[in-house]
């Protein structure tokens, strides 16, 4: 990992570091100096207009500016846009993913979102749209003459207006390490039961080799639920319809039993997400349910592993998987709506949009006509697991609970964790979960 050359590209940032380092060293020089420092840090805050800069500042908030190739791509686009025109200066502000939701919610409650351009998660997006805090973005489509916007955007409309433009769609697929399959002389599974067998064959607990990893700790509730959500697919179930939870339905029970089987025969039990990820990097875990957006990150984090990655066909008949869209939105209370719109328009120009998706190594194009065949063909892991799959959205499988996605998920994972660790049966656990989910439904309807 250390011998990566790509890091050299970070010149821009590292010069900044040296300067910062000197600054902090001088800050350390003494408390006296500090008193002088304090007002200097008081800053230039969001009150843009009275800043002497001739450019209008647009604050763009997201969680991904520190995130490997995605961060790099976005930082480069921000720079590119700032050079491309002379009136607007887009400023990228990174907020850790952990805090992003909290911060956004605090903002909405105070009646005003922070930032001019904001990114949203699939869970946050419907709530922000409901709260009337956003500017319609239909104009961006008109300006760029886009006519083939993906239907996933239907979920981002309200009263006919479009409030978000997808900047990354993540889709679940089964990613595996080709070497491990070859060593064990295995071919990808075509049914759920075969999938368990394949995973078991790849596991040797004594040697610390595991066939499969999925997040399964309640201390990582978002990741756990985010992944568990997929397990309604193998037996074509859904978690809820409208406000009716279906946790004791056959599809769900079967799906969860499948997870439990995988857990028993193939998973590093009790491993947290980073550990699972590292085991996969090392080749100690052979396969995992990975979202397409995470695969590109391996080029940087595990350059040795990346060429060995392949996707397995979805091993269930329906060939369905979940896709989640992360839209870019504009704050209604921003004082620079028009300038923000400029940047969003710039990013959604088909050519720029394509370069952005390719830079992030994403594979699902919200503007299908922007996709370039040569790029897709160059990705060895794309087919078959992330291609030609029938995608559904969280709306399709959790119904109205999409507005209370986390709370619904918490009910499922808390009870399901009892199946994994406390020896409860799936039926028993989901019986309880169903009652709790019905209570929730009653409260929110």
């Amino acid at each position: 990992m250390s011998d990566q050359i790509e890091r050299k590209q970070e010149q821009r940032r590292s010069t900044l570091n040296r300067r910062d380092f000197l600054r902090s060293a001088s800050a350390l020089a003494g408390l006296g100096l500090l008193a002088a420092c304090a007002p200097a840090a008081q800053p230039a805050d969001e009150a843009g207009p009275d800043a002497p800069a001739e450019r209008t500042r647009v604050r763009y908030l997201s969680w991904w500016f520190e995130e490997g190739n995605r961060g790099e791509t976005w930082n480069n686009f921000v720079d590119e846009f700032n050079e491309y025109q002379a009136e607007i200066e887009v400023v990228a502000e990174n907020i850790p993913f952990d805090q992003y939701t909290t911060k956004t919610i605090v903002g909405t409650q105070s009646g005003q979102l922070d930032g001019d351009i904001v990114m949203a998660t699939p869970e946050l997006a419907p709530r922000l749209i409901q709260s009337d805090l956003l500017v319609p973005l239909d104009d961006v489509l008109v300006r760029n003459s886009i006519t083939d916007l993906s239907s996933a955007h239907d979920a981002l409309r309200k009263d006919g207006n479009l409030y978000g433009l997808d900047m990354v769609t993540v889709a679940f697929g089964i990613l595996y390490n080709k070497d491990r399959y070859e060593e064990a002389d295995i071919t990808p599974a075509s049914t759920p039961q075969e999938w368990v067998e394949v995973s078991a064959a790849l596991t040797d607990r004594e040697a610390q080799k595991y066939g499969f990893f999925a997040t399964h700790l309640v201390s990582e509730p978002s990741d756990f639920w985010f992944q568990l959500e997929v397990w309604c697919m193998p037996y074509d179930g859904i978690w809820a319809e409208g406000t009716t939870p279906l946790l004791t339905s056959d599809g769900i029970i079967q799906g969860l039993k499948l997870f439990k089987q995988m857990y028993d025969v193939a998973m590093p039990q009790g491993a947290d997400n980073p550990t699972g990820y590292r085991l996969f990097q090392n080749g100690d875990v052979a396969q995992g349910l990975y979202v397409s957006a995470a695969v590109g990150a391996f080029t940087k984090d595990a350059p040795d592993l990346y060429p060995k990655l392949r996707s397995a066909p979805i091993p269930w008949e329906t060939n369905k998987s979940i896709a989640r869209i992360h839209p870019m939105m504009i704050n209604k209370d921003s004082e620079v709506v028009e300038e923000s719109m400029e940047f969003v328009t710039y990013m959604y120009k088909p050519d720029n949009y394509r370069r952005m998706v390719e830079g992030c190594q994403d594979v699902i194009f919200a503007q299908p006509s922007a996709a370039r065949q040569e790029y897709l063909d160059g990705l060895e892991w794309l087919k078959p697991g992330y291609f030609g799959v029938d995608y559904v959205t969280p709306f399709d499988i959790v119904g109205d609970f999409v507005y209370n996605f986390n709370e619904f998920g918490q009910i499922v994972i808390t009870n399901f964790a009892d199946v994994l660790n406390a020896g409860k049966s799936v039926e028993e656990a989901m019986e309880i979960a169903q009652v709790q989910a019905e209570d929730l439904a009653e409260r929110i309807s």
Binding site: T108, Q109, R127, S131, V218, E220, N406, E407, L420
Partner: protein
């Protein structure tokens, strides 16, 4: 004989410490002038938001939604009292708080007694003893998640030495173990502070008391019981309150290590409040939970203040 030691100790303490100088009692303006800026400052940044929170608990506020805030009276409280999850959370919180108070203060007291004895390298040993206090919580969590990892955790080497253990235990997935570790880790992080304060109190006990007691032929245990303990009594009282408040509010360690699981066995009220407000958007119910917690800790504080008042009156 014992009574005599006891009396001496009490007399020594009260004459050596508390009563404020008579002359300072005359002027009343100064203390108000000193306290006022603090009251205003805390009032604006803490009390005013608390009052808003209490008000919020009588409304229905759903975060990130267009629904208007409505007055609902005692609804949130009714829901809370009929919610079995609430009572479980309260039980867990009280258990966790009590255990941390006992463990952290016991360890703090024992280490303070130990490190109050002279031995070579004492300054170095003391410095090391305080290390956990200086390390911020997030790194503490990082270390312990790593130590307890069922795959690579070093603690498993010890566990495997026990008879009958052939697999690495899932330390944080078994209810009793998870609670145990939360208490241990929180105590590990917190005890040095208590130890320091107790150490300071120990050194403030006048030596004459020990000598007098010894002349009377008191044993070590008697010395501890009749001289040391009364000498640090008021300090211990304050520490119990502080430990109660700190552990009651402990968030980072539990949230990042167990998230309240398994089966809610480590879900303290703060975790519940955070989840309810910021993950489930149910802000007004979260404030009602907060007020419930507030009332419980207020009761603890009142007991403490009453003890202080009684003590002051005794000595006056």
């Amino acid at each position: 004989m014992n009574e005599r030691v006891d009396a001496d100790a009490l007399a020594g303490r009260s004459s050596g410490r508390m009563p404020p100088p008579r002359i300072l009692r005359r002027r009343y303006l100064l203390p108000f002038a000193l306290a006022l800026p603090i009251v205003l400052y805390e009032g604006l940044l803490i009390v005013y938001p608390i009052v808003q929170g209490i008000y919020g608990s009588f409304t229905r506020i759903e975060l990130a939604s267009s629904a208007a805030t409505t007055w609902v009276g005692w609804d949130n409280y009714e829901r809370m009292f009929s919610d079995p999850a609430f009572w479980k959370v309260i039980r867990v919180t009280l258990l966790f708080t009590a255990l941390v108070i006992v463990v952290a203060l016991t360890v703090g007291l024992l280490t303070a007694l130990l490190f109050n004895r002279p031995f070579r390298f004492r300054p170095i040993a003391r410095g090391m003893l305080m290390m956990p206090w200086a390390i911020p919580e997030v790194p503490v969590v990082m270390i312990f998640i790593w130590i307890l990892s069922p795959q690579f955790g070093v603690v498993n080497i010890l566990a495997r030495m026990l008879p009958g253990v052939t697999q690495n235990p899932q330390w944080l997935q078994v209810p009793e173990l998870a609670m145990g570790w939360m208490v241990l880790i929180s105590s590990w992080k917190a005890f040095p502070f208590y130890s320091l304060v107790i150490l300071a109190a120990l050194q403030a006990i006048p030596q004459e008391l020990y000598e007098a007691a010894r002349v009377d032929g008191a044993s070590r245990l008697q010395l501890f019981w009749h001289v040391t303990l009364p000498g640090i009594g008021s300090t211990l009282e304050l520490l119990v309150v502080l430990a109660a408040i700190f552990s009651f509010k402990q968030f980072t360690i539990i949230f990042l290590m167990t998230g309240g699981g398994p089966s809610g066995t480590t879900e303290t009220i703060v975790i519940r409040i955070f989840n309810t407000a910021f993950r489930f958007y149910d802000y007004s119910y979260a404030t009602a939970l907060g007020v419930a917690g507030f009332v419980v800790s207020l009761a603890v504080a009142l007991v403490f203040i009453l003890m202080q008042v009684r003590r002051t009156q005794e000595s006056a």
